[in-house]
């Protein structure tokens, strides 16, 4: 007599697996944190995505008139492809996870602000470092150093195609 595991691991039995969707669409914020990566994000955004939202820059402002006794509050804004400035914290809260993209060697310090927002809502932050044509190993190290303390997964992705592959694999 066949064991249960033997019977259930055939190609025939695989045909009886439930076909209904086993997940809901994800909301993913994809954020370029420097000028060079903004062009990359802009290019990727032209593909068809299910729940990915793309942002090409991060900027900051301060409240002009803090109440007496309060410190000046810093606000972070994301710029989307339509040129709208959207509140970073609100966008992170709406997302299931966040992907930051930086071109190797660029200033990636802004990731700490995004990381703080992710921590506030317990969202995973993934980091992609994209080497450019003239990128040195030191540039890559520099970017990794900025991103490492903040990301749950850090990838050096040679080529823009990998970003698309990864977002597709993650059902973004």
């Amino acid at each position: 007599m066949l064991s249960e595991s033997e019977r259930m691991t055939t190609a025939h039995e695989a045909g009886f697996r439930i076909k209904d969707p086993n997940s809901k669409p994800r909301a993913v914020a994809v954020i370029a944190i420097d000028k060079a990566s903004a062009a990359i994000v802009d290019q990727i955004s032209k593909e068809k995505w299910h729940g990915a939202h793309f942002f090409t820059s991060l900027s900051f402002s301060t409240d002009k008139s803090p109440a007496e006794g309060e410190s000046q509050a810093m606000k972070a804004w994301l710029n989307d492809l339509a040129g709208r400035a959207l509140n970073l914290v609100a966008e992170v809260e709406k997302s299931d996870f966040v992907v930051v993209i930086t071109a190797a060697g660029e200033d990636a310090r802004a990731v700490s602000v995004i990381s703080d927002a992710c921590a506030m809502f317990h969202k995973s932050l993934l980091g992609l470092v994209i080497p450019q044509d003239n990128t040195s190993e030191a540039d890559i190290d520099h970017s990794l150093g900025h991103l490492r303390p903040h990301t749950r997964m850090l990838v050096v992705a040679h080529g823009i195609d990998y970003i698309e592959v990864m977002l597709t694999a993650l059902r973004a």
């Binding site: 066949l2 064991s3 249960e4 595991s5 033997e6 259930m8 691991t9 055939t10 190609a11 039995e13 695989a14 697996r17 086993n22 997940s23 996870f97 995973s124 993934l126 190290d141 990794l144 150093g145 490492r148 303390p149 990301t151 749950r152 997964m153 850090l154 990838v155 050096v156 992705a157 040679h158 195609d161 990998y162 592959v165 990864m166 597709t168 694999a169 993650l170 059902r171």
Partner: protein, 428 residues
């Protein structure tokens, strides 16, 4: 998640398929040396990349890997008589040498030259590190012999085994580059298995269930670093090398031997899970070898006389719910190898990746698939030699080490990740 056509592309390795052509660029483990122990020993059936073959060691000790079936009427040469420098079909006496050349057709006059017109397909078979390796690609593009460290150290420093795994090669291999499962599936074994226990690094594995990953491309594949928090402003890093298309190294523990795997397609629904253990600088001890032969570490116990795991799907992997409940094993299956295999086989003969839901920490898997498909396409479109063929790509080592938090692992572990003769592994 992969689309169905992508899943088919990457999982199918038969003749003429893009991934099959990719595999045919490499030397691959075909048999253990012990399977052909002496001249004129019994021939052994081999199925690789969906091709049926027969292996034998002739009277002079030469190794042959040829089409399994006699060119006359098609019976299996497994029934053949291995004698006088050839394998003779017992049906009508046709005889073939290690190159597949027919050397005798008894029904035809020897002077007629008829035998010279008959030749079976054959592949080179070489012996290295206790393993018989074959290359199934274009003879004109045959690469240099493999230089993975486990097959280049003296024989008393290395031990290899293989087991049948009844699923597609890719879902098996993906387990080898997914080190996040260790803290769950194998947690019961880290402090008990004789080939794992006692390592200082184990406490970090068990103490931090949410490792943080860093994936970088290497010349031959990937380096997948998993970091866990350690004391004194340090990270505990475990770095897994993957060399294309199917070699993985498991980061070491203490002074235990290094181990890892090859995942070799038999056909699209079965593969050989090869497991190796070696130490770069010393002979394996008797107790280590005994443990390996007893199925400890990454090895398995066998159904006697076979390379089929003793715990297998026909006996529900000897599932022990009491051990699972008591926490002696996390899944109820004993042994690291079969803990992996049982779950991977349960996915079905070929995992349906259209339904999976990967997360960010699966980026090692995502990138490995991407590199495999990219290399197969470059080979098909431009004839580009894929990564991992160059022997320099094979001289990598797995490593486990503590680094200050501000040190980049690819810098801090740079020397540790290179296989160097006579230099001990870097391990915690």
């Amino acid at each position: 998640m992969l689309k169905k056509e992508q899943n088919d592309y990457i999982t199918q390795t038969g003749p003429g398929t893009p991934m099959g052509n990719l595999f045919r660029c490499y030397w691959m483990p075909a048999l253990l040396s012990e399977e052909l122990p002496e001249p004129d020993c019994p021939p052994v059936r081999v199925k690789l990349l969906s091709e049926r073959l027969i292996a034998f060691r002739d009277t002079e000790g030469r190794l042959g890997l040829i089409d399994e079936f006699c060119a006359h009427r098609g019976p299996s040469l497994w029934f053949g008589r291995n004698e006088e420098c050839g394998l003779r079909c017992p049906y009508h006496g046709w005889k073939f040498d290690v190159t597949g050349q027919c050397v005798d057709v008894p029904s035809e006059p020897a002077e007629s030259g008829y035998a010279k017109k008959i030749k079976l397909k054959s592949y080179p078979l070489i012996e290295k590190g206790g393993v018989l390796w074959t290359y199934m690609g274009d003879p004109e593009k045959q690469p240099p012999e493999p230089e993975f460290e486990f097959c280049t150290v003296p024989l008393n420093q290395t031990f290899s085994s293989k087991r049948l795994q009844e699923c597609n090669w890719l879902q098996a291999m993906e387990g080898g580059i997914d080190s996040s499962h260790v803290s769950f599936l194998h947690r019961g074994d880290l402090n008990n298995d004789p080939l794992f226990k006692g390592a200082a690094g184990n406490k970090y594995n068990l103490g931090d269930m949410a490792p943080v990953f860093e994936v970088v491309e290497s010349s031959g594949g990937l380096l997948i670093g998993a970091r866990r928090n350690a004391e004194d402003d340090q990270y505990y890093w475990r770095i897994t090398p993957w060399v294309m298309p199917c070699y993985t190294g498991v980061p070491p523990r203490g002074d235990h031997p290094l181990h890892g795997h090859f995942w070799v397609p038999i056909d699209d629904e079965n593969c050989w899970a090869w497991s190796y253990d070696y130490h770069p600088t010393r002979a394996l001890t008797d107790s280590e070898v005994a443990a390996m032969r007893d199925g400890k570490g990454v090895h398995v116990k066998y159904v006697p006389g076979t390379y089929i795991p003793l715990a297998n799907k026909t006996n529900d992997y000897l599932m022990d719910r009491a051990a699972q409940k008591a926490g002696r094993t996390f899944s109820g299956v004993e042994g690291i190898g079969m803990q992996d295999a049982s779950l991977q086989e349960s996915m079905g003969p070929v995992c349906d990746r259209t339904r999976e839901n990967l997360v960010g920490t699966d980026n090692g898997i995502i990138m490995a698939r991407h590199r495999l498909m990219r290399a197969a396409k470059a080979l098909a479109d431009k004839g580009t030699q894929p990564p991992g063929v160059d022997v320099e790509h094979q001289k990598v080592r797995q490593a486990a080490l503590l680094l200050k938090r501000d040190v980049q692992y690819k810098d801090g572990a740079k020397e540790a990740l290179i296989a160097k003769k006579g230099v001990r592994q870097t391990s915690v």
